[in-house]
């Protein structure tokens, strides 16, 4: 693998950049691998990367139906934070956030992790209490967050309207080391590093069946032929249900559309990520200058990657009220992705009824920020059979009634 | 009894249409088997009207009846008579499985009138309001921007709009914005 650096770019410039090699190889599949990961999104590639890096398992294939990083990895709003309330969530998201800090150096690929700070606005008494609770929990979980005043909010976000007629800003939960990263680069960086370890990333290859013997996975059938493996990781987000069916079990997941949009680019005007949950909107500004805005999910199953426009309207009007100046910005592009939702809206990282087969899915609307931690934990689970990071996210929690519910504001009442 | 006061006490606004809060209207929610003869008689006695068909409203002035759902009617009577009518109705229905409750104070009623009235409503409700599609005699329960509401037409240029009392202020402001001068759409 050719090392990336400013020096390398300068050297290549002299020959008009004709000397750059492929960032990842494009191999034909081998007959057999120690482990196969299905799905070359961020989570799948990170899983493969840490299998190799942490456990020396490098005879690995990552099989991808389309193009690597072409699913939700490249469709999200790139927010990275770990200010979650419940212990298991805080653990895996903080692990991920920590890994993001050094990921550019680790991968020798600039994924542009920008710890610009993530702010969650409190706009009701109920939210104040909720976020104060979160900040207490975070302190004990080793997640650095703090409660900040409206004055500090305004200092950090000069374009915010603190005194909206409907919901004044009463304060915020602030995670200074939260931020954003370049989403595509995360997938590309992991892919390049995996390829450099000798792993095969096989794009345009669809898994059509999961083969097993005596309750144990032995391989997969694909559009490029049968491939044997000892271990199988299914990391395919919205398509988890289909893969699980091939492997002979069912998952408590539903696929629904989640939307996002960007404005036209403008000069820097907002240096942090702001989430306003009462009015359902969140926004950050990309390095290109676009305001990146997250929308809501539909309430119904949908595989079209198109959501319903009224969710865009709801989000935009909320943000126009919170940041009045965006009224005179324009929406450049809106898009949708298919997210897989579980019964408690937390992910599943688990062994499955099929021995040797593991599942990583159900990330719902929050997957991007977890990628390194998810890959780390999933690799540990696949390599050793156990990971403290993933333990709570096992499939059996639904049967036991042991949920990981982050939406703790279920009942608002007086 | 003290003088009853409607949510906005007859507030009004004039733009591309006239928006007025109508004051108190006697209203009874009646749930039951709409094909039941006893129920039909109770409706007739209270309003002089038959049981309306699907999405039909039969109303004269402040008396009438509107179809709300397959097992629900909205009975309109003068506000002063609502308790008496309700008592009569409850008596008449005592042997049947039905529910009649006074909701007069739980609602606010607006009139939106003028040549552009259809357009004003067309800005806030996801409903086709062309003259071919919507006429007097029909009721539509829908959404008024962000709150639930129902409306029908008293005549070709006048809508009667009903919403929850707590949302009266919102709906009035909403209709004001929709009726702001210079905002004619020019399609209806």
């Amino acid at each position: 693998m050719k090392h990336y650096s400013a020096f390398a770019v300068a050297r290549e410039a002299l020959r008009y950049h004709t000397g750059w090699e492929r960032a990842w190889r494009s191999p034909e599949p081998k007959k057999r691998y120690d482990a196969i990961i299905v799905g070359a999104g961020g989570h799948g590639l990170a899983t493969a990367y840490y299998l190799g890096k942490n456990y020396g398992i490098q005879n690995v294939a990552v099989i991808e139906k389309g193009w690597l990083g072409g699913g939700n990895t490249g469709r999200n709003t790139t927010i990275i934070r770990s200010n979650y309330l419940q212990d298991p969530s805080a653990a895996i998201y903080e692990k991920a956030r920590g890994l993001y800090e050094d990921l550019s150096q680790d991968l020798n690929y600039n994924i542009m992790f920008s710890p610009r700070g993530v702010m969650m606005l409190a706009q009701t008494q109920h939210e104040i209490r909720g976020y104060q609770r979160t900040s207490h929990a975070n302190a004990l979980q080793g997640v650095k967050t703090e409660w900040i005043t409206p004055e500090r909010v305004k200092e950090l976000v000069p374009i915010i309207n603190l005194d909206g007629p409907r919901y004044p800003v009463l304060g915020a939960l602030w995670q200074e080391r939260g931020g954003t990263a370049r989403h595509d680069a995360v997938a590309w960086g992991y892919a390049r590093a995996c390829s450099a370890m000798g792993m095969d990333i096989i794009q345009q290859c669809e898994v059509t069946g999961v083969r097993s013997r005596d309750g144990r996975v032995v391989g997969v059938d694909t559009t490029k032929g049968a491939i044997d493996c000892d271990k199988l990781g299914i990391v395919v987000a919205g398509h988890s249900g289909q893969l699980a069916e091939m492997a002979g079990f069912r998952l408590p997941l539903e696929a629904i559309a989640l939307q996002a949009l960007v404005s036209e680019p403008i000069k820097p005007c907002m240096d942090v990520v702001v989430m306003a949950n009462t009015v359902h909107g969140y926004m950050s500004q990309s390095d290109k200058g676009e305001m990146v805005i997250g929308g809501g999910t539909d309430g119904f199953n949908n595989y079209t990657q198109r959501g319903s426009f009224h969710h865009i309207e709801e989000t935009v009007r909320a943000l126009v009220e919170t940041f009045p100046m965006i009224s005179r910005l324009k929406m450049l592009r809106q898009w949708g992705g298919i997210v897989d939702m579980t019964g408690d809206r937390s992910p599943i990282l688990s062994k499955t009824p099929l021995q040797g087969c593991f599942i990583n899915g159900g990330w719902g609307t929050g997957g991007f920020k977890a990628i390194p931690g998810s890959g780390w934990g999933m690799a540990q689970l696949m390599a050793t059979g156990h990971s403290p990071l993933t333990e709570a996210f096992s499939l059996d929690r639904f049967k036991e009634g042991r949920f990981i519910d982050e939406s703790v504001a279920a009942g608002v009442a007086h | 009894m003290s003088e009853p006061i409607s949510a906005l006490n007859h507030a009004s606004f004039s733009g591309i249409a006239m928006v007025e809060e109508c004051g108190l209207q006697g209203m009874i929610t009646l749930r039951g088997d709409l094909s039941d003869k006893v129920l039909a008689k109770a409706v007739k006695d209270a309003t002089g009207q038959k049981v309306p068909a699907q999405r039909e409203v039969l109303v004269k002035g402040d008396t009438g009846v509107a179809w709300m759902s397959t097992d629900e009617l909205l009975v309109l009577v003068p506000y002063a008579e609502v308790e008496a009518k309700l008592a009569d109705m409850a008596g008449a229905l005592s042997g049947t499985h039905a529910l009649a409750v006074n909701v007069s104070d739980a609602r606010a009623v607006f009139s939106v009138s003028g040549p552009s009235a259809r357009e004003v409503l067309g800005k806030v409700a996801p409903v086709e309001l062309s003259a071919e599609a919507f006429q007097p005699g029909q009721i539509r329960r829908s959404r008024l921007a962000q709150v639930a509401g129902a409306f029908w037409m008293d005549d070709a240029e006048t809508f009667r709009v009903v919403c929850f009392r707590s949302a009266a202020d919102y709906v009035f402001n909403l209709l004001k914005v929709a009726a702001q001068p210079g905002s004619e759409v020019g399609v209806y």
Binding site: A8, H136, R166, D287, R317, M331, P388, R397, G411 | K123
Partner: protein, 1004 residues
Amino acid sequence: MSTRLAKQGRLIDRSKKVTFTFNGTSMQGYEGDTLASALLANDQMMMGRSFKYHRPRGVVASGAEEPNALVGLGQGNRFEPNQRATTTEVFNGLTATSQNHWPNLEFDIGAVNTALARFLPAGFYYKTFIHPKPFWKHVYEPIIRRSAGLGKAPDKDNRDADTYEHFYAFTDVLVVGGGVAGLQAAKAAAQSGAKVLLIEQTAHWGGRAPVDGGTVNGEPVDKFVEQLVSELETMGNVTMRSRCMGAGIYDHGYVLGYERLSDHTPGVQGPRHRLWRIRAKQVVTATGAIERSLSFAGNDVPGVMLASAMRDYVVNWGVTPGDRVIVATNNDDAYRTAITLKQAGVDVLRIVDARATAGPLAEEARQLGIRVDPGKAIAKVKGGKRVKKVAICNQEGVGGAREEVEADAVAMSGGWSPVVHLWSHCGGKLIWDEAHAHFRPDPDRPPLGADGKGFVLAAGSSNGPLALADVLKDADAAGKAAGKAVGHTPKRTKAPVGETTAEAPMEAVWLMPANADIQLRMKSWLDFQNDVKVSDVQLAAREGYESVEHTKRYTTLGMATDQGKLSNINGLAILADALESEIPKVGTTTFRPPYTPISMGAIGGEARGDVFQPIRRTPMHNWHDKNGADWEPVGHWRRTYAYVRPGESVHDAVNREVKNTRENLGLLDASTLGKLIVKGPDAGKFLDMMYTNMMSTLKVGKCRYGLMCSENGFLIDDGVVARIDEDTWLCHTTTGGAERIHGHMEEWLQTEWWDWKVYVANVTEQYAQVAVVGPNARKVLEKLGGMDVSKEVLPFMEWRDGKIGAFDCRAYRISFSGELSYEIAVPASQGQAFWDALIEAGKEFGVMPYGTECLHILRAEKGFIMIGDETDGTVIPQDLGLHWALSKKKDDYLGKRAHSRSHMADPERWKLVGLETVDGSVLPDGAYAVGEGVNANGQRNMIGRVTSTYYSANLGKGIAMGLIKHGPDRMGEIVEFPGTDDKIYKAKIVDPIFFDKDGEKQNV
């Protein structure tokens, strides 16, 4: 130079001068000018700077596809960045400023990037800025961010001065695009009897056909357009809107129309934009085609322009972009530009045609004295801020043997691409048309509607045909097909017959010259705004970013504000070539709405300020407001947090209310509590399923506190249920719960137990409900007179109908405070009068209204739980010591099965206790109790948390409730709660009832 011609300009009114400013310089144009045409008339060719290299850029197009000429428009709270000069109509007083430069347009420091361009190829930032680590956030990123972005942010201190609205429209057939195709399709559809809505993004009908010329039925095109428009205007079933763009097509025939009402007349009455939410049974997209640029070195120098755009400027606005023009093309259509220019008196130096042969238009050009060079190409355009010289070479080859010609403008045409955006938004598929080298809609794979059938038809050049005759035939057929699809019978009319000069086939030319060397390719722009060049796409392919999505994202091709309208096909072709693949195999990126950017204001519509969201008000809202209410939003309701008197802090007010209610008399507006009537022979059985308690056995006249769980076992609501008569119950819900619980009940009745005879009605807002609370509660009611509210006649947990004073009411003897307490419901229309009467009569008893915080403290002093505080969606009744409310006599109720799952029956669950700090201070909200050690993830082990915490003025100390592991078994023990202020709070586990443990105060 670019200048106004003496003649021509079909869209401008030369009798009406318009004055505007650009970068502070006053300029003149005419009514009908776009900002771009007016700037060109003032010889302002350079209009902006590019995104990455800050290169000087001039206008390249004449319409929505313009990538370069973006300006900041307006001032103050009407300033808007990134407006296309080509679609901005000029008006008196317009102020425009160019973008993305410092200190000014002419001299921009950022242009140093252009010199460094060789070191800044596609994706260079992924390979660099990696070390040292902190530099990305603090050094590199800020520099990149300041360099990127385009326009300035709008005014942050003042709200947008304009208003916006939405409109719901319904039509049989929606025709998007008012060019000849759209007009003809609309007519054909309307003649079938279908209701037609026709929308056009510009202010003019007819599209570009009047510029391109030709005849229809023997008449000039503009005559035909005029007639067609007036015909449509008289048809009762046709609605026409100009300045209204089809922004996006969504599922089930939903289309967004973006109408710009007053962008050209700012400040007039009425909304600025109107977002049409159109439901159409059939949509005809007659959105035309966009000319492609040619990829040659220096094709981004100001003065290089699309051939069709140059023609537009001459014909529509009487402006020529240059005096000495070179035309470069791979098709016949560009000859029309040469001819138009020549006829307008502009010097056309030569036509450089990459093909060997051209059609009859070439002959026409030659006869006008224009030199035509077949098989030639532009090797390079020279000049910085303006075209100076053009080097011409052979198309075949690497670009050697050049001849240099002095020129000040270049018209280029790489062929035409249908505007397939709207077709594609909702899943319509495309096919590659080899003859025209473009993607066009695949009629066999249209977007599918609710009925599974196609609901979009493409018409005219957006469907592929480019010649006028074919366009009209195609549009006529599409209009008829649309009419038929919505159930009408199209008239058997003939399509109008268009005639234009025949054209020879175009030849795909993706690079000029065909084998241009790397130096040339590094100067051949694909995406003008984002500075993506041929060499960048080739680099992406070489590095393995092979998918079109990879290439797009790696190079940013097509990601600018024009979303690749000019660049996408050219980029695809380069990519396909680099991959040694074919264009259709490489495929396109996804077309997403909107077609061109639409304002956030329009998307938000009317929902801002007062009507941003509904605020629900109780009948006594205005009184509260006048009497110091510190408001608290609860769902959409507004409730009073506390009534703050002059000179008091909110905290003071709360403490005063708390003491007064316990000592004298408090009034609470409880109108927001939900009230549901449940009636029927099966109502008792039904409520037994809804509540964990037994409700069927409640006696008429009595009340019972009830709990509701979800099927998952978690607490979702609570409230007092009153039995009204043999088959009627009244259920109180929490403030946020009325609609939710009403829906919950209806759901079970309609979808599970539909044979049960039960009706539910939500009567929440029929009543104003006032809690009259405190030792003097009975006294004030007795003073008002009326019904007997004595202990004997109205004991605790009973209700009676009657009169209090002049008011018909229902009085409930219930208490959420532990005080003697009545909740009195009167009709909402009399709520204010009743409240006034209580305030007046209560004066001698020390009456004070109290708010929600006081309510909270009073209930916490009594250890009563609050849904939303003690519960959070993960708490079950057993956690809260509410076992007594879980009926053991019932076989079933919602949540019962769930409670027997292992985790819910786990004795380790955290349980409700009272907490008192050792020093009397107030525990922090949301604090967690810590145990020994850390868990496997290194997190401190937690053993509980605070659910409610207050200062109790009555007790003079902090009190709290919390959930603690084994809590009820650990009474008297001290647990530690680390604060976020670095303090450790020590609290003793106590009984949660802090005040009047035996309930003596409420039972009087």
